[in-house]
Symmetry: C2
């Protein structure tokens, strides 16, 4: 497995389908499942490991975000990644004078709670796409709004990249895998799984035909009783991220909560995850 630190060291192989998995490191089974899917579908698999400062707000966890490159590289190699791009901040941002900004789909939910976050995401993904030049790129549906934002960017700017969105990978108790789970104390970790259970109950109630507004009131109350501070919980259209007041086949239930100092997000569809 090759590791490259500067864009000039990478040359896209001609005639081989290149699959790309961008990450911020701190790899877990969710990332590895993306890499395995890329491995099945592409001749060449490239991952990136870069904790992107521009997608963190000033009061967020950029400094303490978990970093363990040696372990991450070992994990990439274990699932058959061919090359890892692991640049430093100065290589990626000699200047920060150009921004790729998506409007509309970025404005609610994570965009409202994390101002500037999605501009950081779209700009770094645009840079990584230009550096790696993948045929296909793999993202986890756990970050549902990120998927919607990147899909919109790729469509609006005609990026020649096929997007592959992959199912959330969960712990045995249902907690969605996330690099930030390691911030949880063992007591918080035990309680964190009720987020997924509460979402599943909400889905059952909605499937039984209750009004969506009522299902949302109830899940919010349940989450608060479990000790979560609720940033949002909503039924949405996954293309536009707009709220829906009636379920369609592709509607999803999204939530962001805080438990102690840790922010957790999750989402489920009507029949999956």
């Amino acid at each position: 497995m090759r590791v490259f630190r500067v864009p000039q060291e990478w040359r896209k192989p001609e005639g081989a389908r290149v699959g790309f998995v961008p990450t911020m490191g701190a790899l877990h089974e969710g990332h590895l499942s993306l890499m395995r899917q890329a491995r099945r579908e592409c001749a060449v698999v490239v991952a990136s490991i870069f904790v992107n400062p521009t997608q963190f707000g000033p009061n967020e966890d950029y400094e303490r975000y978990p970093r363990d490159e040696a372990e991450d590289l070992r994990l990439c190699e274990s699932v058959g990644v061919d090359a890892v791009f692991a640049p430093d901040v100065r290589t990626m941002y000699p200047r920060r004078t150009t921004v790729v900004a998506v409007r509309g789909v970025t404005e609610r939910w994570e965009g409202a709670f994390r101002p500037g976050h999605f501009d950081g995401v779209t700009t770094v993904v645009a840079k990584l796409f230009h550096i790696v030049q993948p045929d296909a790129a793999y993202f986890g549906l756990k970050d549902l709004q990120q998927c919607a934002v990147i899909r919109r960017m790729v469509e609006d700017l005609n990026f020649p990249v096929e997007l592959r969105f992959c199912a959330t990978v969960r712990e045995p108790d249902g907690l969605a895998m996330s690099s930030r789970n390691r911030y949880l104390t063992s007591e918080e970790r035990r309680r964190a799984s009720s987020l997924y259970r509460a979402l599943c109950e909400c889905r059952s109630e909605a499937a039984e035909g209750r009004s969506l507004a009522i299902t949302l009131d109830r899940v919010r109350m349940r989450l608060e009783q479990e000790g979560f501070a609720v940033d949002y919980v909503a039924w949405i259209d996954p293309q536009t991220m707009d709220p829906v007041d009636r379920l369609k086949e592709d509607s999803r239930l999204i939530a962001a909560v805080r438990l102690g100092g840790v922010r957790l997000i999750d989402n489920i569809g009507l029949h999956e995850d």
Copy 2:
């Protein structure tokens, strides 16, 4: 020569160097010189013809901008272009939710007189680069700030495109070729050439060691006497577009003026154009 109207019709040929000349049509010798240079340097030459609405301000000449596709295609063919991308507005902008924005180098001069102009330019050039996937792209130095802005975008976002900036082509009397010159009445056309002469005199004075501020006062006065309204005239660094108060080898003299209802821009270096 192929003409394609939607991105899906174009497939980048493998292993062949692709040169790209983006235009808004109304082609003149300036455009053709870019296409000829691309022809000399690349195996495949692609041009685009698209009058991009997002780079025109609300009071600008989008509606009356000259359009003659049949003649433009004939000219492309005459210089050996292989393929022309000529989309309609709806194909290029089913939505306008994503913008590529460059800060700093966009703010003065054309950016100040044409708010939003460069966001329109960078966004459409990003789209065209993704659609055509050129190895090299050709731009005329007549639009000097546009060259600086695109260079900055390509560097900041790591576009895998080599930029080629080519000398301004002039009429026999010195007027820089521009699609907008056809708006000039014959009387205005006669007077328009004094823009270039005034810039050349200013350069001579600066080369003799006069203070740049004094050379700019004098050229501004000369232009106003000739009947031009002067938007700006300045000595600048062509990388940053910042004004300079002392000449360096790459300093350039830039100007924008209005003559009747027509806006003209031009620029010269110390030894060229």
